[in-house]
Amino acid sequence: MYRLRAKERVVKAMYRDDIVALSTPPGESGVGIVRMSGPDVIQKAAQIFQPYNPETDITKKAGYTLTLGWILDAHGEAVDEVLLTVMRAPRSYTGEDVVEINCHGGLLPIERCLQRCMDAGARIAEPGEFTRRAFLNGRLSLDQAEAVIDIIRARSDRGLKLAMQQLQGKLSEYLEKLEERLIYANALVEASIDFPDEVGDPDYEELRQVLQESQESVERFLAAGERGELYRQGIKLAICGKPNVGKSSLLNLLIGKDKAIVTDIPGTTRDVIDEIITIRGIPVQIMDTAGIRETEDLVEKIGVRRSRETIEQADVVIFLLDVSTGITEEDREIYASIDQERLIVLVNKEDLEDKEISAQELEENFGLLRVIRGSVKEETGLDELEQCIEAMVLEKSGSDEGMEIMTTLRQKEALLRSRDFIVSALQSLEQVPLECLSVDIHGAVEALGEITGKSFHEEVLDRIFQEFCIGK
């Protein structure tokens, strides 16, 4: 007779781990909710969250309460200002303890916030997992069950399709190479363990070489993934320069040119408005535009502190010069305060006839920086500027080898785990018995399997029989 022990929520006991996901669609808006669910999520949230009021302890908060504060990075610096909601089991969507983090700071902070939850030990949820838990914990009714299945099927099938598409690209050869190397390393070890008479001890030099190649391969993947991430997450751009140099005009020009895909998201707890545009396919968040929009002498007064912060966070900073005034002491001061690697100098108002900034002057003051001449008013130099931004961004994320992949956080997590196993294997090579080494090498293979969806157990065996003459 079918019966799970009644009254006992057997299924509930299965979910001992904490999951996290972005619960708003990524990429389209600057606000987002990061949701965690599981037995330990409130503790986890407490590790990465600093309430405004230092006396507040979110682990003691009642269900359905809001707390204002910051998500902190690993060094204790604020990643984003957020509103945090605590919901206690069983009164939550999933029926477990749930923490929702409302981020305001745009795409990057949302992703970072997600990353911080993972740092605290939550794992990325599977497709439909929140809903599945909700159902299994009795929070959804029976007639909703089918809807849940549709969600799971739709999302995971789509995910699979995307993954397959990705694997069919140029990329597949890199991935295959990596797979091949790791499986070979695994086979070297396992063959020696299971067939000691025929295979003997593994050649450690060969093993080291194979593992090193695998590590390089994983690193390349991660780097390529970061480039892909750039296209997904975008960069931050700041505009600076002395008053009246044309900052707002440049901003309006950039936005106006791209109006169709501009999103205006008024922050709910702050006065800043961020503009997100795309430049050559790269999402660009223009920072602290509120400040620029204020009257220019106000900017002067609100002062240095605020623009400093903005500039420090930016990936690219456009520094505007005014041809009509020439290079002033003020320009030099601003210039001195900015990290040169991120800087593009835009010499504005080239349309004015009395040019006062010569190439020699620029070189004397700014060395070999990227310098563009143009006119915001006449809309000249804009193409050059965009090209320059793109080049800087791509250069920063490593050279382009034709590898352009969008790694999801889950894939990145698996790749990192695989790399850690490989590194650990390399460190313990010849230090530990073969079977302990195998724990690491097999771990690396299995982590990779999470990306490709393959189970490599059989493939390792296939490789042993193919490579070694086994059999007595």
């Binding site: 799970l4 089918e146 302990c436």
Partner: protein
């Protein structure tokens, strides 16, 4: 004419390594048992290699022993050489391997069977299994005897429709020119079981007196006398050596020149053979760049001159086999005693079995050993033991006995067999076990003897021995964890200096100190910190201390694993009713009928999304049930 010959609780068909374990287990559990075999003179025959053990296989034997099975005790009585291999590769993969006196082994096992209470032996050929509406009801022999029974265990090895192949010579036969079983296969097909065909092979045997050992490398046994059984004490007996030689380019040329007469390549052999045990001609073809392959010359027994050539299994024509032998260093003048051959046989597709090894289609019918598509004496014995236990439990009306992948190699073996698609004869390997570090041969008793006791297979003597060992291990562990040393302790400081080990900085327990690779547990005995214990106690505790980190890591993995294993799927589930499963998953689940969510997740074509769907379906059913019948 059929006559009524009697009534038994359990009937075991076949007295090979699976059948012997099955019959002994059932009888020891107190049910009336009959063991039928084609030939009483070939009980526990070893028709292939004269050795037992090696990686994964030794662990199996230790598990069989820990549960109260017989194989380990037999090996200890009948071995002529014993070695511990893989010693440098870690405690979990090191493995005992014994060379066996084949005749001695048969003699000891036959005696054990005859002495066993509740067990009858009968020579005969089972030709049919009868069923009624409750499942298995009787078996019938070729000579017309009809035995009623509650359960049947078929352990027919490679005898079902056995066919021997030597070059172009092909004839019906079981291993070693035994009589094949020609009718039982048909009877099983009639019961609805789906059958497949596999191939395996064995090398020629030669006369010791014609071998020139001066051209070979001697392989003696270990000085230290090891035992397979937790019940045996190290024997004092002379060990015989094996010898290592190799094939030559001349050998390979002979093989290549005769491939047109090799049944492996001419299409005569249809059955699929094992990759881990390829024929010699296969090796020559697939590893064409190699000039030599290792060959081990092993004695078949203490009182015989017959020797086995490990590595030379072949179905080449007899005249070619002789030429091949002459081309091998040391065998230039050899006399061949038996010809190598390939054998094809029927097997039952094992995905039709439950974890208890009972057929899903026929209640009370169990299969074990090579009939399930495995190879190896050890794999056979392990399945025989489990099938015998479950046949006895079945007639007693008790729930089946099964083991998880996380607690034993037996669990890995059976789960693989019933869950995965089989493409070749199955051999157990340590790399098939996910939790290898936990499944060591040294702790098989700690893992399984309590379970063996519960089902009634562990004798009082074994039980008391086990309890004594366990309490000593506990005591030693406690001592090591409680005893601490400080930098001021001269004895330890001197000792560490002598070992070139870093000095200690703070108070540290001996347990922690033992984690250092250069510190051995014997050192603590020598330094008088702890008492002298038996070697197996010292070894056990040392392994627990030295590998604690890795072991704990695997324990955590096991906890996650077991959550899904302990989530049952009802037997009567109809996968056609489960909305949202992919069609491939539906088909495979319907066929394999997993007992738990964990097993379901290991079936090919079943994705994580399918598992979610299944979980939701089960929860829905549970709620419907609660709704209907209350809590």
């Amino acid at each position: 004419m059929i006559y009524e010959a009697g009534k038994y609780d359990v009937i075991v068909i076949g007295a090979g390594h699976a059948g012997c374990e099955a019959a002994l287990a059932a009888a020891r559990m107190g049910v009336q048992t009959l063991l039928i075999t084609l030939n009483i003179d070939t009980i526990a025959l070893m028709p292939c290699n004269p050795s037992i053990g090696g990686p994964a296989k030794a662990q199996l034997v230790r598990e069989i022993d820990a549960l109260g099975g017989e194989m380990g005790i037999m090996i200890d009585k009948a071995n002529i050489q014993i070695r511990m291999i893989n010693t440098a590769k870690g405690p979990a993969v090191q493995a005992l391997r014994a060379q066996i006196d084949k005749k001695e082994y048969q003699k000891e096992m036959t005696k054990t069977l005859l002495d066993q209470e509740n067990l009858d032996l009968l020579m005969g050929e089972a030709v049919a299994v009868e069923t009624d509406d409750r499942g298995v009801s009787a078996i019938i022999t070729r000579t017309g005897a009809r035995f009623e029974c509650g359960a049947v265990v078929i352990t027919s090895g490679t005898y079902l429709q056995g066919r021997i192949i030597i070059g172009d010579v092909v004839y019906d036969g079981g291993p070693g020119n035994q009589y094949p079983a020609t009718e039982l296969s048909q009877s099983l097909k009639k019961l609805g079981l789906s059958m497949g065909r596999f191939k395996t092979g064995t090398p020629p045997r030669i006369d010791r007196k014609s071998v020139d050992f001066s051209k070979m490398i001697e392989q003696p046994g270990d000085e230290e006398p090891y035992c397979f059984s937790f019940m045996s004490d190290p024997p004092d007996r002379e060990q015989l050596s094996c010898w290592l030689t190799h094939s030559t380019t001349e050998t390979h040329a002979i093989v290549r020149a005769n491939l047109d007469r090799a049944p492996m390549f001419t299409g005569v052999i249809q059955g699929k053979g094992p990759r881990y045990c390829p024929s010699f001609e296969d090796k020559v073809v697939h590893f064409a760049n190699r000039d030599a392959h290792q060959l081990f010359i092993e004695p078949e027994g203490r009182d015989t001159d017959e020797m086995y050539i490990q590595g030379l299994n072949t179905s080449l024509p007899e005249d070619v086999q002789v030429q091949v032998l002459y081309s091998i260093p040391g065998l230039e003048n050899v006399k061949m005693i038996r010809t190598g051959y390939a054998i094809e046989y029927d097997y039952v597709v094992p995905s039709q079995l439950k974890p208890s090894l009972e057929c899903m289609k026929v209640e009370g019918l169990f299969t074990a050993g090579q009939i399930n598509g495995t190879s190896g004496y050890e794999e056979a014995a392990a399945q025989g033991l489990i099938a015998g236990i479950n046949a006895a439990l079945k007639v007693k009306g008790q729930p089946p006995f099964t083991l998880l992948r996380s607690e034993s190699y037996i669990g890995v073996l059976i789960d693989d067999l019933i869950t995965k698609e089989l493409h070749e004869p199955y051999r157990l390997l340590t790399s098939r076990a996910e939790y290898r570090l936990l499944l060591r041969q040294d702790n098989a008793d700690l893992r399984l003897t309590e379970k063996g006791r519960e089902i009634g297979l562990v004798s009082d003597e074994r039980w008391n021995r086990f309890l004594a060992k366990k309490s000593k291990i506990e005591a030693l562990r406690n001592t090591l964890q409680q005893l601490t040393v400080t930098p001021a302790d001269d004895t330890i400081s001197k000792f560490l200096r002598a070992r070139k080990s870093a000095p200690i900085r703070d108070r540290i327990s001996l347990w922690e100190l033992l984690r250092r690779p250069e510190v051995k547990i014997e050192n603590f005995v020598e330094l008088d910190y702890i008492d002298q214990y038996e070697k197996e106690i010292l070894d056990q505790v040392e392994i627990q201390a030295k590998y604690e980190g890795y072991i704990n890591k695997q324990r955590e993995q096991v906890q996650r694993f077991e959550k899904l294993e302990n989530k049952p799927i009802p037997e009567d589930i109809n996968y056609q009713d489960v909305y949202g499963l992919s069609s491939e998953a539906k088909q495979n689940l319907q066929e394999i009928r997993p007992v738990s969510i964990g097993q379901a997740s290991r079936i090919g074509g079943v994705s994580p999304a399918d598992i979610s769907v299944l979980l939701i379906y089960l929860e829905k059913k549970r709620r419907n049930y609660e709704h209907e019948y209350g809590n």
